[in-house]
């Protein structure tokens, strides 16, 4: 435990280019970027599928198969294909984030009461107006729940970026492993710190997005 205290009391562990603060910002950057990219890719497709009902089963089944794709394999495969850089991390984490967003959006829009939809059409709304002004707001809590699940998984998994030479909070974990985490207390201290920081960041994502979810829930919904 003293190794942990020693490591934590060293200012170099916190500040500077390889410190915890810099690593946390890198980690948050990967997570935010990939989650937003996944939303941007998935939402238009999922809204269209949910609205028209076309290919709904196929979209949900595809997403379920997508859950089985190992992030580790996509990461290393994309590294072999694209080389060093952000591309492998984005490929792996976006693939991880798409399924929960896809399923929740398709199901959420599909669950909108047909009578509400018909009423909107009866008021003269066009298809895209019904989608954006009626279906999307009603489905928003469900969509956000999917985004939240995806974000928490992305934060926990962005650790793997360090395996392909990038930064983030996986750095102290991978370095700790390389420096003998099985026996070296100092290496263990690095791993513990990295793990706790990732768990806290995941918790922050969970709480932050839960607040957004509540704010987006329509009154009386």
């Amino acid at each position: 435990m003293s190794a942990l205290a020693q490591w934590l009391s060293d200012p170099a562990s916190w500040w500077g280019p390889g410190g915890l603060l810099a690593r946390t910002l890198e980690h948050a950057g990967y997570s935010l970027g990939t989650t937003l990219a996944a939303v941007a890719v998935t939402l238009p497709v999922a809204l269209w599928v949910g609205h028209t009902g076309r290919g709904r089963l196929a979209a949900v089944q595809l997403a379920n198969i997508g859950r089985a794709v190992p992030t580790f394999g996509i990461l290393l495969g994309a590294f072999v294909a694209f080389g060093y850089g952000l591309a492998p991390v984005y490929a792996a984490l976006v693939a991880l984030a798409i399924p929960p967003i896809m399923v929740n959006t398709v199901v959420g829009v599909g669950q909108v009461d047909p009578e509400v939809r018909e009423a909107a059409e009866g008021m003269g709304m066009r298809g895209w107006q019904v989608l954006l002004r009626v279906e999307l707001p009603l489905a928003a809590p469900m969509v956000m729940a999917g985004v939240r699940t995806a974000a928490v998984q992305v934060v926990a998994t962005a650790t793997l970026a360090a395996v392909v030479g990038l930064g983030g909070l996986g750095r102290p974990i991978v370095d700790g492993l390389a420096q003998g985490a099985a026996y070296s207390p100092r290496a263990q201290a690095m791993v513990v710190t990295g793990a706790i920081a990732v768990a806290l960041l995941a918790l922050a994502a969970e709480l932050g997005l839960s607040a957004v979810e509540r704010a987006l829930t329509p009154p009386g919904g």
Partner: protein, 220 residues
């Protein structure tokens, strides 16, 4: 960076390494089965405990939820000082990850038993134990099996990460293919891992229909 050194797909490599592929596939199946079985043996008693002592429900779900946010790689590394590089390391780590899904689904299943059903079983003279095993568990079975399916699929994926501590099953193919820039080896590990998850999912869905013949089949 060096370009991909070998051609892809390299069928000759695949043909001459069938033994390695089969060995890692069977290792992958074993690690997954051990972890999900162990997770089930821990999660079901925990779910029953939470039913019997309701104040424990929140803390149990919260605790397993926090465990779920610990990055997989860190969890396996943190287990090193306790269990070393023995096989217990990947199995314990994977078990911990399966707990949240299994516990939540088992609880939701048991809580979904309608109160009238429970009351009529008690009125018919069932004891609490009989109520649990003859009524609640059978009614909750579809939700419980759905949890086992989810846990199995996610565990199949997580097993690959244990390649970094020397296990990994098909993850070993992925890691070795990566280290040797042998795309065939890497993709073989990736594709087989997805296929294994799909087969396990379908097999468990089939098992559930056999276990609950009274239930209309429905998509998960």
């Amino acid at each position: 960076m060096t370009a991909v050194a070998r051609r892809f797909p390299d069928w000759d490599w695949l043909a001459s390494h069938g033994g390695e592929v089969a060995a890692q596939l069977s290792e992958h199946v074993e690690l997954t089965a051990l972890a999900v079985a162990a997770g089930f043996l821990v999660a079901v008693p925990l779910a029953l405990l939470a039913r019997r002592v309701p104040p424990l429900r929140g803390p149990l779900l919260g605790f397993t939820g926090v465990l779920y946010t610990v990055p997989a790689l860190a969890l396996f590394v943190l287990l090193l000082p306790f269990v070393g590089l023995s096989r217990a390391n990947p199995v314990i780590g994977l078990t911990i990850y399966s707990l949240l899904i299994l516990l939540r689904n088992t609880l939701v299943g048991l809580e979904g038993v309608p109160a009238e059903v429970r009351e009529s079983a008690l009125a018919m003279g069932h004891t609490r134990r009989q109520l649990l095993w003859r009524v609640e568990v059978p009614v909750a079975l579809p939700a419980i099996v759905a949890g086992v399916r989810l846990a199995t699929v996610s565990t199949v994926g997580l097993v690959t990460i244990t390649a970094l501590i020397g296990y990994g099953g098909l993850g070993q193919l992925i890691l070795r293919g990566f280290n040797r820039t042998n795309a065939t080896q890497l993709v073989a590990g990736l594709v087989l891992s997805v296929a294994l998850a799909a087969v396990a999912d379908v097999a468990l869905a089939w098992a559930q229909r056999r276990l609950t013949p009274w239930q209309e089949s429905r998509t998960a």
